[in-house]
Structure formats: structure tokens, C-alpha cells
Subunit: 130 residues, 4 copies
């Protein structure tokens, strides 16, 4: 079980790590927000996010088990809707923390730094909305 | 990791189990579709659904790790959007199989059995759309 | 106002009309469901759908006016969310009626006719979910 | 047609007007961002938003006509999906402008003014995502 999913997990992770590196690079150029130094908005609430994501992992595992045990399709769909809602809740929370810290810091710096963070946040919102 | 999330997983599972029992009960009353006897539409494709859900579990675990490693907020949001899309893909697939098998069977029986399955499928669609 | 929007409306209409013609063509080949003869599922409830869509048109006009009067951005977003919900409600209703009539009829015919309608409904669900 | 929908349009408008009044009141208390004085972020792009919303109105009218002319259910659903996408595009655009102007201004003021605008924007995002 763990073995089978490990590649997917680490692929997602490496991918994100790669993008993150790109951001850090951008950070090195602009170099002046707490966010660029890796002090992200959600960190003050990290334990709570980890707990929520642990529950989400459990929900994903529960849905896998429901299919494995050949439970009723509609019940599985109900759990998928619940998991989707939980994910959207985490995403909206992360976005709020991101606005409160990273974007706020970037606005303090102003100019291109601010503009870039606002554009980036808007694109993330667009991906969540669609 | 496994220990911490186990309660959430089994809670989701028990809940579904409970609803499933209610459906089986309804099945005993109407008694005559393959679906009521536990031969759900997705079963012919079960291995593929299990593989997709395994990847989804891996994606959820990857997002947990990103927060734990304090990666960039926007990268985490990107992964949440990808996971949400993957879940919606599974949901739409399950619904299609459900229409093809369970609802089709119920339509063959007709009357209240058909009407109940159509109403139930529509409510599941409404939960996915919102 | 009416003049400016007329091209968009009729473009949408012509586009749909074109697709509709394709469906009618498919209907002529299979030729045997009420749906293929234009007796769509929602028709028994047509007056209620027209009233809901009239309100939706009014909501769209209200949002246009809010921008024209330079009202507060967040209030406009609230109205866009309300309009989106209203549209999703109509879509779920139409889908339910479509399952109850067109898909049910096609299932009665069986074979390719049934399969095609189920595939088509699933694709429509996928477009609504994403 | 126009007459029937007028009450809905003005109801939406009055409702928004009411909320707007509440915001203006809050603005009078904090009193110091361009946004509070009615210079909203989207205004520099107002003509383009009005044109997009005009098209959206036309799309809504087109869907009403499709039901009136008893067109094929699935074609109507396709148009509803297109209209929903168009609305989401406008919403994401308004949010981006709101972040760039109103939220940025509020961050400049700092303290409660900034916090309130960030909370309000996050709630608007939550309504769009769900």
C-alpha cells in the first residue's frame, strides 16, 4: 500500500519542490519579504493544518477501502464530496494566510514584488475556482 | 502517520457502512437489481479505480509533507487543485458506471425503484456540482 | 442594451441549434425515443424553468448595473456567487429531468442508443463539476 | 420579457445596494482607502467588464430562449457550463483588481483596516470556490 503510492507522493513532492526552487530563486532576486525567506503565512498555524491534512489523508484511505470492499457507489460519491469540501477548506485557509503574510509583505515592498505576488495569488484562486 | 489518521479513515468508513446498510435494506424491499445485491457498476473497473485512489492517497500524503516541510503556499495550493481534479475525475467515472449499471437496472424494474435511483443520482450530482 | 447583447445570445443559440441538429440526426438513425422526437424531460416543468431563467437574466442584468454604478467589488462578487448557484440549481434540475425521461427512454431501447445517452449525460456532468 | 425580469434585477440590485451601504458605513469609520471613497479596483477596466457582463446577459437570455424553444437538454447544459465559466472569469478578474487596489490600499493603512479587508476577500474567495 505505502509502496505503491510512494512514487505518486514523491512525484508530487518533487514537482512542488522544483517549483518552490523557482520561487526561491525569484526570492533571491527580490530578496526582501519574510515569505521569500521561507517564513510562509501558514506556519503559525502549522500544527492545525497538519492535523487537517492527516484527516484528509484518512478520508482518501477510507474511500480506497470503500471501493476495495465494493460498497455502494452513491456512498462513495458522498465521501468524495466530503473530501473535496475538506480540501477546499484547507485551500481557502492557506490563501487567507498567504494574503495576510506573503502578499501583505510584498505590498510593503511595493512595485514589481507586489504585482508579482498579486498575480500569482490570482492565478491560484483561478485554479481553485474552476 | 498511519496511526494518527486511522480514526478518521474508519469514521468515514463506518459512516458509509451505515448508509450502505440503509441502501441494502431498501434493496431488500425492492429486491431486484444487480446493484441491490452488491454488484455495483464500478466493479468491472475496480482495479483501475483502486490504482487511481492509491495515487490520490499519495497526493494527499504529499500535500501533508509539503506543509510539514514548510514549502511555498502557492505550490501547496497548486497540488490541492490537482488533487481536487483527480477526485472529481474519479467521481464522474463512478457516476457514469452507476448510470450504466445501477440506474439502468432500476429503470428496467421501473416504477418507484427507478424513480428512487434517479433521485438519488441527482442528489449525488448536486453535491458534486456545488 | 438589448441590441448590444443580441449577437452573443443568438451566437449561443445558433451554436446550440447546430448541435441540436446533430442530435436530431442521431435521433433519426435510432429514431425511437420520445427525446429524439423533441419531447425533452424538462418540458412538463417548462414554465417553472422559464421563470427561474428569467430571474437569472435579471440577476445578470443586476450585476451589469452594479459595475456600471461602480458598487463595491465584494458586493458584486457576492451577486456572482448567487447567480452561479442559481445556474447550478437549474443545471441539476435539467439533468434530473433528462435522466428521468431521455436516458430512461434510451435505456428502454437498449444497446448503442442507451450507451450513447449515458456517455453524453456523463460528459455533461463532467463539464458541470469542473 | 423585460417587464417580468425587472423585479428580480432590481431586487438583486437593491440587495447589493443595501450591503454596499453597510460597507460604505464601515468605510466612513476607517475612512482612509481609495476603495472606501468608492474608487474600486475594477474601475480602470470598467468598459471591459461591462462588455463581458453584457455578453453574459446575452448568454442568460440565450439559455432562456433554448428552453422556450424546447431545445435538447444536453445542449442547454453545455450553454449553462459556458455561462458559469464566463461568470467565474469575471469573478477572478474582479478579485485580482480588488487585491491590487482595495486590499493593497488597506495594507498600506495597516492594522484593523488591513485585517478586515483580507478577511472579507477570503470570505468572497470561499463563496466562489464552493
Amino acid at each position: 500500500m505505502t509502496t505503491a503510492s510512494a512514487p505518486a507522493a514523491s512525484a508530487a513532492h518533487e514537482h512542488a519542490g522544483h517549483e518552490s526552487a523557482a520561487h526561491e530563486h525569484a526570492g533571491h532576486e527580490s530578496g526582501d519579504t519574510a515569505c521569500d525567506r521561507g517564513q510562509h503565512g501558514y506556519i503559525s498555524d502549522k500544527a492545525r493544518y497538519l492535523a487537517r491534512l492527516k484527516r484528509i489523508e484518512g478520508q482518501a484511505r477510507g474511500i480506497h477501502r470503500m471501493v476495495d470492499e465494493e460498497q455502494y457507489c452513491i456512498d462513495i460519491l458522498t465521501q468524495i464530496s466530503a473530501l473535496t469540501s475538506a480540501l477546499q477548506g484547507v485551500a481557502v485557509g492557506l490563501l487567507e494566510d498567504h494574503l495576510r503574510h506573503c502578499v501583505t509583505d510584498a505590498v510593503g515592498v511595493g512595485g514589481e514584488v507586489a504585482e508579482q505576488k498579486i498575480k500569482e495569488a490570482s492565478q491560484a484562486i483561478a485554479r481553485l475556482v474552476r
